[in-house]
């Protein structure tokens, strides 16, 4: 018979997928992006723990010491070899083999998820190192954007290179396009990204997208979190600059954007700039405290439930 925690953990990790899809489609996250980002992180972590845990629970042989303890018990039993339980020897060997297989599959999944994260991290580090090298040869300062680097290119764009040596980069095209107030708003937005290390928030979702590009929920999650991160940086910029400056800066950069992708090609990103602008000009009320509390409970539950199933005896 299958152990109960394995069934619950498998169901939990499977349920994370429709939960992610409906969170991506929901409207409330843009009212409180920070809370929604935390929920996304908890959902992602909970899914991983539950998926790995379900396989480990299949392998756990000793129900009374929990999945983690049970897995150890199985391994030590195989290694020790001695005290096989009563019953037909053949059957015991069979179930132990199957359980070891499930345990190995769980370990492989865990290693795979870690590897995906590490590989994405290295790709990011490589891209940033190249950016720093090129910027040190090409970029220059400009009094209109104190602290930022200017690259002489006619396309209007602004971005930041996060990390220990973080940089904000503004193209000459954006420098010409935006007025002084709009540039200050752009800088405030980018500084918020750097200060709060939004790149680290985005990294696991970008890593999952990199590995599971064909899985629609991976695409939805990455798009949703990256939009929420932008909205959160917009909110932070509003502490220093009026909304209108940021909105017109966004509109101008959006309209003058270098590449106008044909409609539909960026199906996921399409409408992002418009959504951010309409949010700045006609802000919805932030989520009330009870709703935020509910989000917090959901986030804690998404991690605590699979973690408890793994560690507690059953």
């Amino acid at each position: 018979m299958l152990p109960a925690p394995a069934i619950v953990l498998a169901a939990f990790s499977a349920a994370c997928i429709p939960a992610g899809s409906s969170l991506a489609a929901a409207r409330w996250p843009r009212r409180s992006p920070a809370a929604a980002i935390v929920l996304w992180q908890a959902l992602g972590l909970g899914w991983g723990v539950a998926a790995v845990g379900a396989l480990a629970a299949l392998g756990a042989s000793d129900a009374r010491s929990g999945v983690a303890g049970g897995s150890f018990a199985l391994v030590s039993r195989v290694l020790g070899g001695g005290h096989a339980a009563a019953g037909p020897r053949r059957l015991v060997a069979w179930t132990i083999g199957l359980r070891l297989l499930a345990l190995a599959a769980g370990l492989v999944l865990l290693l795979l998820l870690c590897w995906i994260l590490v590989a994405a991290f290295y790709a990011v580090i490589r891209a940033r190192r190249r950016q720093h090298m090129l910027l040190s040869l090409l970029a220059h300062g400009d009094p209109k954007v104190p602290g930022a680097l200017v690259v002489d290119h006619p396309a209007a764009t602004a971005y930041c290179v996060p990390g220990l040596r973080s940089r904000i980069v503004i193209s000459a095209g954006a420098l010409d396009l935006l007025d002084q107030d709009e540039l200050a708003a752009v800088l405030a937005h980018e500084r918020a990204h750097l200060r709060e290390r939004h790149d680290l928030v985005l990294l696991p979702f970008a890593a999952l997208l990199r590995a599971f590009r064909w899985v629609s929920v991976a695409r939805e999650a990455e798009a949703a979190v990256s939009l929420l991160v932008e909205m959160h940086a917009d909110d932070r910029a509003l502490r220093h600059r009026p909304a209108r400056e940021l909105a017109t800066a966004l509109l101008r950069v959006g309209v003058a954007g270098w590449v106008h992708a044909p409609a539909g090609a960026l199906a996921v990103a399409d409408g992002e700039v418009a959504a951010r602008v309409s949010r700045l000009l006609r802000p919805d009320p932030r989520l009330p405290a009870p709703a935020l509390a509910l989000v917090a409970v959901a986030a804690v539950g998404a991690v605590a439930v699979p973690a408890a199933l793994l560690t507690l005896p059953f």
Partner: protein, 147 residues
Amino acid sequence: MALGTYVPGYSNDVNRLGELERAIMDILWESPEPLTVRQVSGNLTERDLAHTTVMTVLDRLAKKGFARRERDGRAWRYRAAETREAYVTELMLSALEQTGDRHAALARFARSVSETEAAALRRALEALGQGAAARPAGEDRARGIGD
């Protein structure tokens, strides 16, 4: 913009070697033909640099792939591996790309928008009384913002 000069944004953590690399790349980019170490030294604004210093920097640039060197008799001649414009384009392209890992490596202020969305943004700018600064509107079939 002044070439090969002090860069405020990078002055804090990029050492003198970094500034020299930049000055030397500027010289290589402007020269139509490969230059010897002596010619590069001669073109630097800072004349009193040791020959070996310039050689070391050129070597570093070659190792990083920014400069190519070729034998000319007993001397090495150096040239830029790519034009300055090619590097600027690379910089911008990597910032504009939409793929997952690029997106995590750099955070962009605004992503590329579709033609349809661009038209909607244009109309929103006009509605804000800022239309004059935007590019002339193309098509009118776009939806409004926030609907």
